[in-house]
Symmetry: C2
Subunit: 127 residues, 2 copies
DNA sequence: GTGGGTGCAAATACTTTGCAACCGA
DNA sequence: TCGGTTGCAAAGTATTTGCACCCAC
């Protein structure tokens, strides 16, 4: 793995993500970071999101539709709406217990606290 | 929603999925169903997978890489390997408890038993 | 100066869709 | 016959990548 060098673009992407509590797409991030770096390209955004994900500084959330990113890596799970694809945080008291239960039934190593629950959010349930 | 009409292609796709306990991609399904229907197109496979998913007859699993499909809709969760993208079944005794816990912390309606856990599978952990 | 980072554009991967022909009820 | 289904190809969406130039160390 090559030596990491500082980049103001990457810093801006990271800052943007930690400032938000929703789960923006690469495109949303691109649009916002462009206010600070008008010439930044979408490719650079993707490259840095992949890099930050590898470093464990952000979380990549794969759902239907485009990937979402989360700048908050403290233990929590995600609820994903099947209809509108909203991603909401879930913070359970029993999360640690759950991870251990899953671990018991699985031959791999569970990455705690990145569990995804699916369903229909309270907005979409009205239809 | 239009009236459903029988199709031998759809039946074959469904049968293929219920015969397997791994979680094939649309392309794998395409390749295999083609042995019975040499002229079937990938578009037809995708259309039927979407339809069967809507009917609740199969489960669509979204991960990194292409979507995976599961012909077994009995309650169970999935473990997804971050490295090789393998999808493995997890059957926990406490699954019902977990769904209820998640439900408590979430304003939407959790679709029980489609929970996804992430991690590194026992094959990939060797590296 | 060296090597990682960037912008741009082209390429890739996966999935969806328009349309005319086809098939099941 | 009627309308859902199919095969084909083109289009669409999301993401990755090659390359020349730029910037951090």
């Amino acid at each position: 793995m090559p030596a990491l060098k500082h980049s103001r673009q990457r810093e801006s992407i990271k800052n943007f993500l930690t400032s938000r509590y929703d789960h923006p797409t690469a495109d949303t991030i691109y649009t916002n970071v462009r206010q600070e770096f008008p010439n930044i390209s979408l490719g650079t955004v993707y490259r840095n999101l992949a890099l930050l994900t590898d470093l464990g500084e952000i979380i990549k959330i794969t759902t239907d539709g485009p990937d979402r990113f989360d700048g908050h890596v403290e233990p929590h799970s995600h609820f994903i709406c099947r209809k509108c694809h909203a991603v909401l945080d879930i913070k359970m008291k029993s999360e640690d217990f759950i991870d251990k239960e899953a671990q018991k039934c699985c031959s791999g190593v569970i990455e705690g606290h990145v569990t995804q629950y699916f369903g229909v959010c309270s907005e979409c349930i009205k239809d």
